[in-house]
């Protein structure tokens, strides 16, 4: 039985909007999710059911209100929800990767460096990192002539492919993917599905949000359904 890489226990998360008189929006309650090495769990549910909130909580980008988020880091299960900032950064560095839905663009940094940075930060030699970044960008159909350019002027699909390369290159044992194929054409969707399958076969535990049913069927071992805590108006 493959080891549990990620497990939440009674995870709850809501938002208090102080600028709106302190309205409270509960989003997640009692979420218990478990993901094993080599498994891909796709979060399902209608818009507003808390899929992104759950994903961001798993990354430590949102602060959990109660419950635990156990991550297998350095061989042990560590509670991310109770971890201090330095510990969260260490977990993200070594163990937990996240591919957001949109690339956060930084001025002046060429696409190749955006992708290679993660690898260099993990100790890979610069030349090797640049070589692997080049290969991955080419696999995602980003041609050589774009590698030296900052992605600010790229199309949405191109930016997202740079984002995907950046997220996949480091080989984190746990990957969180938010709509990995949303801006992509059919050819590139196939490339990403292959990359996800390869990651799974290497033992990567994956949690994904994916509205495209074909892609979902191709990658998901299991669906994890979420229902909105509040009824739609």
């Amino acid at each position: 039985m493959a080891p549990v890489m990620l497990r939440t226990e009674g995870l709850a998360k809501g938002f208090t909007l102080h600028l709106r008189g302190g309205i409270r929006l509960p989003v997640l309650a009692g979420v218990t999710l478990q993901v094993h090495a080599g498994e891909c769990v796709v979060l399902s549910g209608p818009s507003g059911s808390g899929k992104s909130t759950l994903m961001r909580s798993l990354f430590g980008n949102y602060r959990a209100e109660s419950g635990r988020i156990l991550v297998r880091h350095g061989g042990e299960l560590v509670d991310l929800a109770a971890a201090d900032p330095r510990a969260i950064l260490a977990i993200r560095h070594d163990t937990l990767g996240y591919v957001s839905q949109f690339l956060r663009v930084v001025p002046r940094v060429p696409a190749l460096d955006v992708v290679a940075e993660t690898l260099i930060a993990r100790g890979t030699a610069i030349d090797t990192a640049l070589e692997r970044a080049t290969d991955l960008l080419l696999r995602l159909n980003i041609p050589h002539r774009l590698h030296g350019l900052p992605p600010a002027t790229f199309s949405g699909g191109e930016q997202q492919r740079v984002n995907l390369a950046r997220g996949f290159i480091a080989g984190h044992p746990i990957l969180l993917l938010d709509e990995p194929t949303a801006s992509l054409d059919a050819g590139n969707r196939t490339v990403v599905v292959d990359m996800i399958r390869e990651a799974k076969s290497r033992g990567t535990a994956i949690v994904a949000i994916c509205h495209d049913t074909d892609v979902r069927d191709a990658i998901a071992d299991r669906l994890f359904p979420l229902t909105p805590l509040q009824d739609a108006a």
Partner: protein, 256 residues
Amino acid sequence: MSEATLLSARGLTLRFGAIPALVGVDVDLWPGEMLAVVGESGSGKTTLLNVLSGRLAPDAGAVWYRDPAGRLHDVHTMPAPALRTLHRSDWGFVQQDPKQNLRMNVSAGGNVGERLMAQGARHYGNIRAQALDWLTQVEIDADRIDDLPRTFSGGMLQRLQIARTLVTHPRLVFMDEPTGGLDVSVQARLLDLIRSLVTRIAAVLVTHDIAVARLLAHRIAVMQRGRVVETGLTDQVLDDPQHPYTQLLVSSVLNA
């Protein structure tokens, strides 16, 4: 938290007459991390920076620095010569106005080399070579090494200040609005430089620009009227702000 902090402050309080500039402020900074201090004008961020760096004494509270040997020093009770030595070597300070930290009647190379000489360097050839290396790293043309800074643009002056500051390989750098007042393209270049050069160096960065904090800092402290109202992981504080003032600050920022 297995590693000891590099700089810690507890209960910092300071009034300017009737105005409370700092009210019970605690700060921790670990080796190699960048802490951004954000807040609006008058929130106390620059005052905090000045107190942390020993340039301004608080009415109450203390600041401790852990030297490379692991010994703790109270920044405000250490002998003045010792504090000066710290500022010349292990510490650096990047001012918003670079002219305040540069000698305008000394060449660019001289400005960088001076810090080395203050540390005891004597070999002219070596000093000049290091100065040249640093000017290159901050993207100042090598042939400007003998030019006076009065001929430099604002962006160049700021980059020269950074070279002068980093040449002594400080462990801790204080930065006060390093990109303040610069044109956006100049700012982008400077941020890129800071991002690549200030790695594995601990830094306290005061900025009113939340986007700069997000780009550069590991952790962020939000100040309002002399108090730190929220502290934490940068992306968590900015994407999931808990305190009402942080929520206001984050929701007020325009996205280009």
